[in-house]
Symmetry: C2
Subunit: 709 residues, 2 copies
């Protein structure tokens, strides 16, 4: 419900910066000084090399590493695929998968696709068409929304294998159209066992020193004629325009590195008020919910083999969120990020106050944004709870999606809400189908009950009256839950998919309690969304003026907050000082992997432990370390969504994959601190050593161009 | 009950070694190579410099640092003194104490004394007088015990200010007589607040990086004629023969350092069997008890101001023990100490097996020692519980001491058990008096109940039948506890002290339930002690033969296990690698102290935090660090009892005080590992910076010879 508010422009320092490719051409001198050995303008070309090799999986990044469409990404980015590939007899989540040859490559299931950017263009004028200074907030929001939809529709017209997106930058100051080719037949080539790919589990997550082999190899397939297509037996490997060359020598301390990928979101432009609210209310609220839900899933996983097969991916998602929020809170309390943000905001206000013309133009904007934030804060908990309630129960989420789909169907396609247009149907259907792999009704019910209980405890005026009435009509919460969870139709994939064919009238006539409840919740949520649209319109009016002030007050090279668009960050391999008296070295080794071995989650496989002592004599060893490097640290500026991104050397060659940040890096989503913020990468040499010495995957090494002589 | 068993001789490597002063003369070349700039034979003279400046406080070490008897030791070594100096209005445990001048120096209470070694001589012949090869084990124990008592009695005759001790080395292969001058009027000059002196509390205890100002200053006083005397108003500062010069420049990475002090006990000669038993039974048993007792004391401290004033010292003792045992267990499971010990034992057995003459002489000894150890293991838990029971209840411990005192009084003085001779009476009386400061009956009762309950749960055959009967006679455990804890006479210091004037008959006639229970427990314990004496006699017969084998099998420079006698260890300032990818630097800084500041136990005083930013400009700053060093690491070989020991540079000047070891060092009591074992010291410059910049204690700096110019 609370939208991003940009009130303090980050001034890029040292290695901070999630740069748009096009921005790099302007930074040529700085990049060359840092050690880049490619022409900087080459980095600006999304169709060139290396960017042409980079793809997005939606939640993660990946990159082509062979002419036959082999893709490298993180192990943790393919866990839902491994879950899809598991059944009662085969637990690929635990054991991983090594295809013996191409015929052994396994389709990772419906809905999976990777997308390659083909074109990026500025569409600000098209998006802002018909929007004038005096346009009302409500109309502003609607016009921009419909204009965006039109740009996308034109872009996708008659091109089923192209996906287009209009992304806003600087809070709507500019818009870019991104055209991506969709590759819809993705297959699993190699995933290490969980005891390598997520070695250290939750204990080591976000931690350094790290020893995780967090990588996996996929392959994109296309129709025999080369066109992107649905999965089919006779599909053939995709031939990418570009693929990354490997630098099997790797990188060491001080070496230039860069990461190209799709960082998800950062909050570097938000105001101090938002940061304090997150510290005091939002994150603690989320933390408590995460812990409660994790506890429920954990109990089911421990007590029930069926749950143990279905829930780990969801639990992993919640674990990660929980640790992220805890890290944020630690970062806020253990560093000066909040006071630094406050100081930068005070500087902006002083800059405005220094000139009556500025006061006249900017102060009202600042006041209006602040008032909106305050209003959002007051209703945060109640509205966040309603959103989580609809999200956390898998079947309510499904039914509610159906209700919104039917509602939006009543409008012309381009006027519908994003994610409810005809172009979105295919993805929704696949998500409905995929749900079988993670749906476990007893756990789902317990989770859902948490929200029913919490909603019942909301103070009057903030509560959800329709929900209260409905629960009473059902004979109370217990009876309602019994009705909801007794052989629900929506537990079947076909019933879920059929939802999207029902009209709103048909849904309203349905006796399915999930659909009834979804209608009740939609009655509550629809007016809130309408109000949010007006607010969004206001922000779209205010933010460009605000950025105008910020850019004048702090004239510096800057970059927009992460928004899941392709970015490049540049820096070097570098350790740090976690605290007085301790130095975190920038590299770990295979010997360190072996030294940590023990009980789960440090249950390194026997074949790895047997190979480890000879690692120093292998061809992947690092001379100065005297061992094969396992993971390394860089000062690159990354965040969630960057997972799986290619880590490149000065010549654009692959030297590793980023898979995490250090604990101190979490609060960097709000404010980057070069002394403490580090990205964590798996070293290309660890990947190659595992493929060669642990897995004996000779054919893959050959395809990667590093066959043994 | 289990005595030390020496079955594997440690071969001193690198910086291992708790050397007897006399041994250093033989190591002259090695010491000079390491960087010692004093004539090595100077280190061998306990009356010379620096050893003449070193004193023992019994549980800790200290050293003279001025011609007027000023003593430096650790803050944690004076916590019972600070408790004695606290009352309802003044909490010196929390606030510390700074004497404004000499008149402000406060006597730390009865029973406190420091002792200076004046002479060390070999008395093996005297101790072994009348002991022949065929002397029975029982007689052997008695003769050696009485001979030791005689040597001591002769040494102390007509010298009330001299305390003598006969210490066994290598399990009784040799004995040394140590003559020490007693200084019995000890006063508090300066102790920092707890938030400096034990900064980081239990969280940082045994940890690195460390930022603790663990130091305090005492002064020894004597009668105006210079003779050691009881505390009296007109006593004057003691003029030590020697005192340490300060090196206010301190030491840095790689510099030579040494520590002279009184390490308590190590187990480096014990056999692998004993190590495994400790890992599997002894330490887990102790760990469970520690945790239970700590929980009880913690609850009382939190709930009750009176308890909060009386229990912290006891709880601190238990906390430290608990962490020590936990560290041991972690060390045993996380390193290869057990297997290394086993390998060394196997090598000894192979050496014996290689020669029939050796087999004949040594194998039976080995077998007998092993059988004794096995027997001890089988009764360990029941007997340890009985010992703890008598120890953990303050009033039972008092009453039981009275019973044993009266029993031993029936024998000629020299035939009595150690600690129950006339020479021990004064110390016992003082301990009885001091108990008021820590006795809190509600907590004491709860602690005691734990043991009553555990004793009741002992399996038949291992139980304490007398206790069971007595509890029944008292009307069951609850009624017994009510009787014991309802206004007990022994809660008063006078009643406790009067105990030592009662005969056994008078005690047997007493109606005091504590005395009755003490008699019951003594009936149980006396036969066990008799059996232990026979075992001890057996060990005194076996160990010298065993060492003979060990010294032949592993001919190397060696040193005896720590036994609270004066030792010197040499090495250098040195960091270490706690794990792959992390480096522990050897120094921390005042900036690091400030960075840790926050909630208790990191509640650094405001005046320190205000002074901290200017520390780099103070005269105590270290150029290469750019700040005042707070703590530093060395590879010196130390253990409990070394606390407060002077850390000396190559010229024998004071550069800090050792106060702890790192977590990895705990298992070094069994086996030293130079790569991981580190001692932790407070830097002289941190001490001086605190005195000057935080406390403005100008007169102390003048006395230390470092007055500002």
């Amino acid at each position: 419900m609370l939208l991003a508010l940009a009130l303090s422009l980050p001034v890029a320092q040292a290695d901070e910066g999630m740069w748009l490719p096009e921005q790099l051409a302007d930074r040529a001198e700085q990049l060359t000084e840092l050690g880049l050995e490619l022409p900087p303008e080459q980095l600006a070309d999304p169709m060139g090399q290396p960017l042409g090799s980079i793809v997005t999986m939606g939640f993660c990044s990946a990159s082509f590493v062979s002419a036959d469409g082999l893709l490298a990404t993180n192990h943790h980015c393919v866990s839902s695929y491994l879950q899809y590939l598991s059944d009662e007899d085969t637990d690929r989540n635990t054991d991983g998968h090594l295809a013996a040859d191409r015929a052994g490559e396994l389709w990772v299931g419906p809905g999976s696709e990777v997308q390659v950017v083909e074109k990026i263009s500025d569409v600000t004028a098209e998006v802002m068409r018909g929007v004038r200074t005096r346009t009302s907030d409500s109309k502003r929001e609607a016009r921009i929304r419909v204009n965006r939809a039109k740009v996308i529709a034109e872009c996708e017209a008659d091109r089923p294998n192209v996906r287009c997106r209009v992304a806003p930058f600087y809070g709507g100051q500019t818009y870019r159209l991104i055209e991506k080719r969709r590759l819809r037949d993705v297959r699993m080539v190699y995933a290490p066992p969980e005891s390598v790919g997520s070695y250290g589990g939750e204990i080591d997550n976000w931690m350094w020193p790290r020893h995780t082999g967090d990588f996996a190899l996929l392959r994109a397939y296309v129709a025999p004629d080369g066109s992107a297509a649905e999965h089919a037996e006779d599909n053939v490997p995709y031939q990418p325009r570009h693929h990354l060359e490997l630098n099997a020598e790797g990188v060491g301390p001080g070496d230039f590195v860069m990461v190209a990928g799709y960082p998800g979101s950062t909050y570097r432009f938000r105001q101090a008020r938002s940061m304090r609210f997150s510290r005091d209310v939002r994150y603690p609220f989320q933390q408590a919910l995460y812990e409660e839900l994790i506890g429920i899933l954990q109990r089911h996983i421990e007590g029930d083999a069926a749950a143990a097969a279905k829930l780990p991916a969801t639990k992993g998602y919640l674990d990660n969120g929980s640790k992220y929020v805890a890290g944020m809170l630690d970062g806020f309390s253990g560093s000066d990020v909040v006071s630094r943000k406050e100081a930068s905001e005070a500087a902006l206000k002083a800059w405005i106050a220094a000139d009556p013309a500025r006061v006249k133009r900017y102060s009202p904007v600042l006041g209006e944004l602040d008032a909106m934030l305050q209003a959002d804060e007051q209703r945060y908990e109640a509205e966040a709870l309603a959103s989580w309630l609809v999200w956390a129960g898998n079947l309510l989420r499904t039914a509610h999606t159906g209700v919104r789909w039917a509602t939006e169907q009543q409008k012309p396609d381009l006027e519908r809400e994003p994610r409810f247009q005809d172009r979105d149907k295919e993805q929704l259907l696949r998500r409905f189908e995929r749900m079988d792999a993670s749906l476990h009704l007893p756990a789902d019910r317990e989770v859902f009950e948490v929200f029913i209980d919490r909603a019942a405890a909301l103070p009057s005026g903030q509560d959800i009256p329709g929900l209260t009435t409905w629960l009473e009509q059902m004979g109370g919460p217990e009876a309602a839950l019994d009705a909801l969870y007794t052989e629900p139709d929506l537990a079947g994939a076909d019933a879920r998919k059929a939802l999207l064919d029902l009209s709103l009238a048909e849904l309203e006539a349905s006796k399915d309690p999930w659909i009834q409840l979804a209608l009740v919740m939609e009655d509550h949520l629809a007016p809130l969304r309408d109000r949010d649209k007006v607010e969004k319109g206001a922000r779209l009016r205010l933010m460009p003026v605000y950025y105008e002030a910020l850019k004048q007050a702090q004239p510096a090279d800057t970059y927009p907050d992460a928004n899941s668009t392709l970015r490049i960050t540049v820096g070097q391999v570098k350790g740090y000082t976690p605290e007085d008296g301790l130095v975190a070295l920038p590299q770990t080794t295979v010997a360190g992997v072996a030294a940590k071995a023990g009980d789960w989650p440090f249950d390194a496989p026997e074949r790895l432990l047997q190979a480890a002592p000879a690692a120093p004599e292998s061809r992947w060893t690092d001379e100065s370390l005297g061992d094969v490097p396992a993971n390394f640290l860089t000062n690159l500026d990354t965040t969630g969504g960057n997972s799986g991104s290619a880590t490149l050397d000065a010549q654009g060659r692959l030297v590793g994959l980023i898979f995490d940040g250090n604990y101190e890096a979490m609060s960097a989503d709000w404010l980057f601190d070069e002394t403490m913020t580090r990205s964590i990468h798996v070293d290309i040499r660890y990947m190659l050593w595992i493929l060669e010495e642990v897995e004996k995957a000779t054919w893959i090494l050959e395809e990667l161009g590093v066959a043994a002589e």
